[in-house]
Symmetry: C2
Subunit: 139 residues, 2 copies
């Protein structure tokens, strides 16, 4: 088994929420959107099809868990889910809570405009409420 290393761009853009069964859950440091990223903790994944079928099913369950957490906490108008990987190749799945009138609405958030960082306290609150909603213990 090759060691898993989180892509440094993903690491730099996000705060760590913690682990689900398959994926590390990250929070994008963009205060304009509640935005989670799931990263399956296996080396050398690029496409969804690089996951074994059982792990794709686990991923679908974890996407649903992340979506449910976002919907419960933030009552968004819509959940957007995507896996692009055109810039950061390491397989990662975005789950974003969207609202009418958010900066990118109704277009995609990816590539739209620079992130607006959270204030320190707001980031701590968001990480804590997401850990709680996902049943993840504080690191």
């Amino acid at each position: 088994m090759t060691m898993f290393d989180l892509d440094p761009v993903l690491a730099g853009d996000t705060a760590d929420i913690g682990m689900l069964g398959l994926c590390r859950v990250l929070l994008m440091k963009d205060s304009r959107y509640p935005w989670l990223i799931l990263v399956p903790q296996q080396a050398a994944l690029v496409e969804l099809g690089d996951l074994a079928r059982d792990d794709r099913v686990r991923l679908m369950d974890e996407i649903e868990a992340a979506s449910t957490a976002l919907a419960g906490l933030y009552q968004p108008e819509k959940i957007n889910t995507g896996t692009l990987g055109n810039v950061v190749r390491q397989l990662h799945i975005h789950i974003v809570a969207r609202n009418t009138g958010d900066p990118a609405w109704p277009g995609p958030v990816w590539g739209h405009s620079p992130a607006l960082p959270y204030a320190d306290e707001a980031l701590k609150v968001r990480v804590a409420e997401l850990r709680n909603a996902l049943g993840i213990d504080a690191a």
Copy 2:
């Protein structure tokens, strides 16, 4: 069981490929990208979580089938997958074959620029090769 009706915007923007077990497969009529859309044939779906868990698993398998067909036929640099639904609410999943230097690269295709239609013959060829790769009989 409520009758399923394909959203008229999706119907207008696409050519019909045919049915997999859960989803209708559509080809976006944009010759710049090999671009499939999966639409689970159930009424009143908006979010992935509106599908029963078994159907989410079937959906993941059909996303993989669509991705494998695109990868085999067109050898793209990357497959992009996304479900947004900010404009067309009916649940639909995009699977797009991307290449370095395509018009939207490396950004998302959604909302980038107007579609460039296929020539009639090119559309027929593409529909036929996709049906063949997906094991779908001609309608």
